[in-house]
């Protein structure tokens, strides 16, 4: 089964988002990686994962 990022990212359409190490929930967000990581790092989350928020991740050609 695919990793579901639709659910955790549903309210994040812009800016940087820090996901929990298991990629199941958002643990921080902000306009920069620094802002997005502030919360998780201060809480001792050791491996947050960064991605940018977007309205649409699917209709692109990278």
């Amino acid at each position: 089964m695919a990793i579901n990022l639709v659910k955790p990212l549903r309210n994040h359409t812009k800016g940087w988002v820090a996901l929990s190490p298991d990629l199941k929930r958002v643990v921080g967000s902000g306009s920069t990686p620094k802002e997005a990581l502030k919360g998780p790092r201060s809480k001792g989350i050791k491996k947050p994962v960064l991605i940018l928020g977007a309205e649409d991740y699917g209709n692109i050609v990278p």
């Binding site: 089964m1 695919a2 990793i3 579901n4 990022l5 639709v6 990212l9 549903r10 940087w16 996901l19 190490p21 990629l23 920069t32 990686p33 620094k34 990581l37 502030k38 790092r41 201060s42 050791k46 491996k47 947050p48 994962v49 960064l50 991605i51 940018l52 928020g53 977007a54 309205e55 649409d56 991740y57 699917g58 209709n59 692109i60 050609v61 990278p62």
Partner: protein
């Protein structure tokens, strides 16, 4: 590019991954499409404080090189991105161009330490994807990638011999330093 490991592994080791399901907008061409499956993998930058910062990247065989966001270079890795070797006017699929500044960096993929990877950091706001790009140079050079979309999965198979050892962690940048409030006993 080099692959380091503290395990006694050899060439041909396979790492399995799952596709990521992401939000997608319906359109007249695809009126029922609400999501898409893309081959993302998190790479990790180990830091000297024992933590790591992950960064989701797409495996993109159509990209010449690896390209990451500017902010990852500056805020996470502590690079002076503009001091890298410039590749001007990189052409994206839409015809837009951007400048990229290349640095040799290191990161982890699962249990593998990947050293000496040449990555272009792209002008702020110019990298069209919301994740990093792992392309031909220094990624497809060393990994065979097998996509099994019908199974929601893909695999990386290492094609070069491993070297013993680990990558050096990155110093924690000023951007990432966390100030902890001191507890006071009343």
């Amino acid at each position: 590019m080099k692959i380091r490991t503290t395990r006694r592994d050899y060439t041909g080791v396979t790492l399995p991954f799952k596709y990521s399901k992401v939000r997608s907008k319906p359109s007249p061409a695809f009126p029922n499409k609400k999501s898409a499956l893309i081959p993302l993998i998190p790479i990790y930058f180990p830091l000297t404080d024992g933590t790591s910062i992950g960064y989701d990247c797409i495996i993109d065989s159509g990209a010449d090189c690896c390209f990451f966001h500017w902010e990852i270079g500056e805020e996470v890795l502590g690079l002076d991105v503009k001091k890298g070797k410039k590749m001007p006017k990189v052409l994206g699929i839409t015809g837009d161009t951007f400048d990229a500044y290349f640095h040799s960096i290191r990161f982890k993929i699962e249990g593998w330490d990947i050293d000496d990877v040449y990555v272009g950091f792209v002008d702020k706001g110019k990298l069209g994807t919301k994740y990093g790009i792992l392309g031909q140079l220094d990624f497809f050079d060393v990994f065979q990638v097998i996509f099994e979309k019908s199974n929601d999965s893909f695999k990386l198979i290492s094609m070069i011999p491993f070297e013993e050892g680990k990558i050096e962690p990155y110093e924690v940048t000023e951007s990432l330093k966390v100030s902890c409030k001191k507890k006071t006993n009343s």
